[in-house]
């Protein structure tokens, strides 16, 4: 017998009340974000420094340090929030801990240099909730992350955790649970957007025992990490959702298939599963009911294709992770050919919310066809990289500019890519109207109506699909003027080709050929027919690929051709890469803005840069391998990427115009 086991909701409530009371005693809590982003920035040292500082000031009893899951604002990590006030400190270094303890905690003074300053308005913001990055969000699922230690089940219970489970198990029938989820309009957050309630209902109906409940945490999309942050920061939410789902479906065995590349998620999840089991939220007779359910955490091998449900199940069975045809649905024959209900992490995390607050409440959020919130991983050329949770129907403009703060360094926003490698790249700014003369002959000027700004597109499942992209699991990669769309398409195709399982012909061979053609184009060897061929192969792939990896693989190609046809034409006809990314079409050259700082000189791997300190530097065009090392390093934007062969012309002009830097100017730069 384990005394920690809850056998009734009253027990749970009693514990919760006790915990809440304990926590209301005016204690100050230092929450340090320990998500992977902040971990990478060294938050562990910050935590240690806080402990040290508290010890020094003998505040250990009065102040609690809580390492929490991801707060979402990874760009500014490590993040520290002082609760209950909500004072928000960003980019905290270990040395700052002492300062915060002594100034803020002891004397209530703010440490100005650590406060958030709005990049646009230059206004200083103290409270977490007032920061635009947060204030525009609706953090239903993610909100808890910043308030609790993911390894502590008590934190979760104190915040109202497992109440939904109690409600579902003890006051509802499985059918009622399914009805509630159906009514809420919750759609699968993994990408497909299938109605979760319908899926549960068909799995419940399916013949065959046992039934399995699977949580897909094989987040393979590059640039997407919300499932990871959820599992790291709020594993109990996912577990609670799964137990409720299992109860509704009639399953007793659950699996979480999580990427091995997410060690922290695996660790926190395992701790949470053990704790839940100890407290009787998993195991036999949950809450004293006759319902039994347990979860196995299975670490995946790290293959993108294993995010596909049938491939994931094959992998769970210990086989090669290749998909099979889904004409018979996995709810009828999935894992071990038994009825299996697979949802992704975020979907499961939504479930307790729906049960607790009701379908009516939930369905009021979002658009007509897409309910609730969605977590996006906002990355790429954007100021505020991080996780954002927004209600469905919010516009791209709000996400990218209001929350994300737009591209950094004032560069021009160009496109946003959603839905991961299989998604589409969307133009959101009108193209440059200038059309190269040679193109007119090809009759390739498209109607003005087709150039639509999609910045005000409301983001939901159906709207994104309509414009040639998809929701996917929620990666949102922003690109600015320096991103080449041919390169982006090539990048995704290369990714997909590496990740294709190789089972079916169109995916295996189609991706290879498409990539060959794209590579050819990016090298300036493309031909006009190539675009038609790309479209033909893409259509056949969409039609005949075995699984969605292949079926949606042409999306990046088709969408970039659709919105950035001109850029393709520039590569094919003009042999020019407008963004200066495609190596074979680019020359590096130094213009007259060179300050002679000599930094580029040392980094050049082929010694192609010639120049002395405080003189104009020149790139030897024959020796340059276009590696881009100097371009990355130059702080004065003096290194230009120009059309192949035009480098010397630039450098010639530079020679004419260059003057040794004036002292005053140099000082200003320094």
């Amino acid at each position: 017998m384990n005394n920690n086991k809850f056998t009734s909701p009253e027990d749970l409530n009693r514990l919760r009340e006790r915990l809440v009371k304990q926590r209301e005693e005016g204690r100050i809590i230092i929450t340090v974000c320990a998500g992977t982003g902040c971990l990478a920035c060294g938050c562990e040292a910050v935590t240690a420094a806080f402990r040290e500082a508290l010890k020094e000031n003998q505040l250990e009893d009065k102040v609690e340090i809580r390492t929490t899951g991801c707060h979402g604002f990874c760009e500014r990590g490590p993040l520290v929030v002082l609760r209950p006030e909500g004072t928000f400190y960003q980019r905290v270094k270990p040395a700052d801990a002492k300062l915060i303890v002594e100034q803020t905690i002891k004397h209530g003074k703010l440490v100005n240099k650590l406060l958030y300053r709005d990049p646009q308005t230059k206004e200083v913001i103290v409270k977490e909730d007032d920061i635009p990055f947060y204030s525009k969000q609706m953090r239903l699922i993610f909100g808890m992350n910043g308030h609790m230690d993911p390894t502590s089940i008590n934190d979760y219970i104190a915040l109202g955790g497992y109440q939904a489970l109690a409600k579902a198990l003890l006051t509802m029938t499985p059918e009622q649970v399914i009805d509630e989820v159906k009514k809420s309009g919750l759609r699968g957050r993994g990408g497909g957007g299938y109605h979760a309630g319908k899926k549960w209902a068909s799995c419940r109906r399916a013949k065959g025992e046992p039934k399995y409940v699977i949580c897909n945490a094989d987040e393979g999309d590059p640039g997407a990490f919300m499932d990871r942050s959820l599992l790291e920061g709020n594993p109990h939410g996912v577990i609670e959702g799964m137990v409720i789902g299992a109860f509704a479906i009639g399953s007793h065995d659950g699996y979480v298939y999580v990427r091995n590349e997410y060690p922290l998620a695996v660790k926190n999840l395992n701790i949470a599963v053990d704790a839940a089991r100890e407290h009787g939220f998993l195991g036999d007779n949950i809450f004293g009911s006759s319902f039994n359910f347990d979860i196995d955490v299975s670490r995946g091998g790290g293959a993108f294709v294993c995010g596909e449900s049938t491939a994931l199940m094959a992998s769970l069975e210990g086989k090669i992770g290749e998909p099979r045809a889904k004409y018979v649905h996995t709810v009828d024959a999935g894992l071990w050919d038994k009825p299996s209900n697979l949802n992704n992490v975020e979907t499961w995390a939504n479930v307790p919310l729906i049960i607790e607050k009701g379908a009516d409440w939930y369905s009021r959020i979002g658009t007509a066809s897409s309910k609730g919130t969605k977590v996006f991983a906002l990355t790429g050329k954007i100021n505020n990289t991080g996780l954002v949770e927004v209600p469905m129907g919010i516009t791209l403009r709000e996400i990218i500019f209001d929350i994300g703060g737009g591209p950094p360094k004032g560069k021009k926003f160009k496109a946003v890519q959603t839905g991961g490698p299989s998604g589409g790249t969307l133009v959101v700014e009108t193209r440059e109207p200038k059309v190269h003369e040679s193109l007119v002959a090809h009759g390739d000027i498209r109607d003005e109506e087709e150039v639509v700004s999609l910045l005000d597109l409301p983001v939901d499942f159906d709207e994104l699909t309509k414009v040639g992209s998809m929701m996917g699991s929620g990666g949102m990669i922003v690109m600015d003027q320096d991103s080449c769309m041919v390169d982006v398409a090539k990048y995704f195709l290369n990714f997909l080709q590496e990740e294709s399982c190789g089972k079916c012909t169109p995916c295996r061979e189609g991706l290879r050929i498409t990539l060959e053609i794209l590579t050819r184009i990016s090298e300036g060897k493309g031909q006009m027919e190539d675009l038609d061929t790309l479209e033909e192969i893409s259509q056949v792939m969409i039609d005949t690929c075995l699984c969605q990896l292949g079926g949606s693989a042409p999306n990046p190609v088709l969408s970039t051709i659709r919105y950035f046809r001109q850029e393709y034409l520039a590569h094919i006809v003009e042999k020019r890469c407008p963004a200066g990314v495609c190596k074979e079409l680019v020359s590096h050259a130094i213009d007259e803005t060179c300050t002679g700082c000599h930094v580029c000189f040392s980094v050049c791997p082929t010694n192609a840069i010639i120049g002395q300190t405080k003189t104009l530097h020149v790139i030897d065009q024959d020796a340059c391998i276009q590696c881009g090392a100097c371009y990355q390093l130059c702080r004065f934007d003096s290194i230009k990427r120009v059309k192949r062969g035009e480098g010397d012309a630039i450098q010639y002009v530079a020679k004419e115009k260059w003057h040794p830097p004036v002292k005053k100017k140099a000082a200003a730069v320094a």
Binding site: A303, I320, A325, G502, T505, D543
Partner: protein, 584 residues
């Protein structure tokens, strides 16, 4: 299962719900091409060539694969819409750009009108249909193959690309490989002549044409099911459910009226004759190995090839290996000269190789044989009278002519010769089977010093044996060629039929009988009779002989103390009389 109605290209058909479209199309005679489908395995749907268009008649349409798309009521399938044709064509073109132009792809290309694949032609002989891996997994159950790596690097492989320990050498993977990517013929391209068989073996066969009962049987040595517990394909295809895996060898007692022994011969093993290097040099073949290689169904497709796969430049055929040899068999094996000449003819017909016949005496007696010999001579075969003495690797100076050197004495010109050749065929002796003695004992017949069964009389009864009703046919009685064997077999059959048709058993006139009055009832004779023909009559207190059982050996006669037993035709009196007579 419920029946549902679907249409394929407008033709309606009723099928079981959930059965696959491809099967329905087959029933309708509509051909849907496919590369990875095999009816007895779970559809894999990897090649996507069997793509068809599915519609519901209400506007919904989708390209699906026929091999695994389940039928549902109202489903409309179209196999020749432009979208389908494009899908198939492009997929094939993409496949061809990766794969070598195997016939199976070329045929499909012709069918689909793909003249020149737009993205070139590849070199990979594997088309990734996965038949091999799936056969091995699903049907054979040996799990010796797998796909390794993924994406474009994906390939079919054994574990660690080494010889698989789980492989049962069933050959199913090679059998079902549509392109010849997997082959069974050789190891590292070597042709192992000693491992060629007379043709493809299947585990199910009628053992020979005239077998009785004339029904196929499973050879447990080759049956995959017996080896792994998997397969059972035969039971899936047999419409009458005749396959019985439980059937075992069993002994049956048959009442028969005659026995024909036709147990044949065995090949003389030339390995101990080390001078010929058989088993040591790879291109020294026994005659049966050469014969097997010549079979059109052999792994070399009937081509005469050396171990390295090349055609030999010259071949020596050595007669009398083990025959006419004081150390082995003194007799002449009778058939070798003729088949050796046939070999020479085959070599001349199939290759440009030089042929040398090394013989002791050319025995081409009989109808048409000498004429054949003359014909061979006109074909330019070198005929050397002299037995091959030794075979050694050819020294380097001969490398342009052959890898082996045959040493012999040409008795016609009286010279020692060394002939460089690439291949040597040893015409090995026919010898009695190793178990001939056992058979002889079983049937109460005898074998000669060479092990051949002895006929009842070498001239007058060449088919019969000393045991009534047991006859001999074929080489088990002594070396003979096919016509002789057939003649003897026919004769044996005739003898047997005569015996069977009589309807009654002719008893030998010679048997023993007991003269009741003289019998003392001592019962000595009772235990002596090997046929239990003597019984003791308790009432009369005398022994009696059942004349039908008595074989007239006379042992009891010699033992009877009172002389009460008389061996008819061999009575004491008769013998005494004979003794008197011949000693007089």
């Amino acid at each position: 299962m419920e029946k549902v109605s679907i249409t394929i290209d407008g033709k309606p058909i009723e099928v079981e719900e959930g059965s696959y479209v491809l099967q329905a199309a087959e029933e309708l005679g509509i051909k849907i091409p496919t590369l990875c489908y095999y009816e007895h395995m779970t559809p894999y749907a990897a090649c996507r060539i069997c793509s068809v268009e599915a519609r519901d008649g209400k506007g919904w349409t989708k390209i699906v694969t026929a091999c695994n798309y389940p039928a549902w009521d109202g489903l409309q399938i179209f196999t020749d819409t432009p979208r389908v044709i494009t899908a198939r064509k492009v997929n094939l073109e993409m496949l061809m750009s990766h794969c070598a132009p195997a016939p199976v792809l070329q045929e499909l290309a012709d069918e689909l009108g793909v003249k020149e694949p737009r993205w070139g032609i590849g070199t990979d002989t594997c088309i990734m249909c996965g038949l091999c891996v799936r056969i091995c997994d699903e049907v054979v159950g040996a799990h010796a193959l797998t796909f390794s790596s993924r994406g474009i690097d994906r390939e079919v492989s054994t574990p660690f690309k080494l010889e698989s320990e789980d492989c049962i050498l069933c050959g199913a993977c090679a059998r079902y490989c549509p392109t010849g990517h997997i082959r069974m013929t050789d190891t590292n391209g070597r042709i192992l002549h000693s491992e060629l068989t007379l043709g493809p073996n299947t585990a199910i066969s009628i053992p020979f044409r005239q077998a009785i009962p004339n029904a196929p049987r499973i050879d447990p040595d080759y049956c995959i099911h017996m080896a792994t517990g998997g397969c059972k394909l035969c039971s899936k295809v047999c419409p009458k459910e005749c396959i019985n895996y439980e059937d075992k060898d069993e002994f049956e007692e048959l009442e028969i009226g005659a026995i024909i022994i036709a147990t044949g011969f065995q090949d003389f093993d030339p390995t101990p004759m080390q001078q010929f290097g058989y088993g040591k040099y790879p291109n020294v073949l026994s005659s049966i190995e050469f014969e097997q290689m010549n079979n059109a169904a052999s792994p070399t497709d009937g081509k005469i090839l050396m171990e390295n796969g090349e055609e030999p430049r010259s071949i020596a055929i050595l007669h009398c290996i083990g025959s006419r040899d004081e150390d082995h068999h003194k007799y002449c094996s009778r058939v070798c000269c003729m088949y050796a000449l046939k070999f020479a003819h085959l070599v001349k017909e199939k290759t440009n190789a030089e042929v040398y016949q090394l013989y002791i005496d050319m025995r081409t007696f009989g109808k048409g044989y000498e004429e054949f010999y003359q014909r061979i001579l006109t074909e330019g075969v070198n005929v050397i009278r002299g037995k091959g003495g030794e075979i050694v690797p050819a020294p380097p100076e001969y490398s342009s002519e052959g890898n082996l050197l045959v040493r012999c004495e040409d008795t016609l010109i009286g010279k020692f010769r060394e002939i460089p050749v690439d291949m040597v065929i040893l015409c090995t002796a026919l010898e009695a089977r190793g178990d001939a003695e056992d058979i002889a004992r079983k049937f109460n017949i005898s074998t000669g010093a060479d092990g051949w069964f002895i006929e009842a009389h070498p001239k007058l009864a060449p088919v019969s044996t000393t045991t009534e009703g047991v006859f001999l046919a074929g080489v088990c009685q002594g070396p003979k060629d096919i016509p002789d064997t057939v003649a003897q077999g026919t004769a044996a059959a005739a003898h047997s039929i005569r015996l069977l048709n009589m309807g009654e058993v002719l008893m030998d006139a010679a048997y023993a009988e007991i003269v009741e009055e003289f019998c003392s009832g001592c019962r000595i004779c009772n235990g002596l009779c090997p046929y239990n023909a003597i019984t003791f009559d308790e009432e009369k207190k005398v022994s009696e002989i059942n004349s039908a059982l008595c074989k007239a050996c006379g042992t009891c006669v010699a033992a009877c103390p009172t002389g009460a037993i008389k061996a008819r035709h061999f009575t004491d009196d008769q013998i005494y009389a004979q003794i008197e007579g011949i000693l007089a």
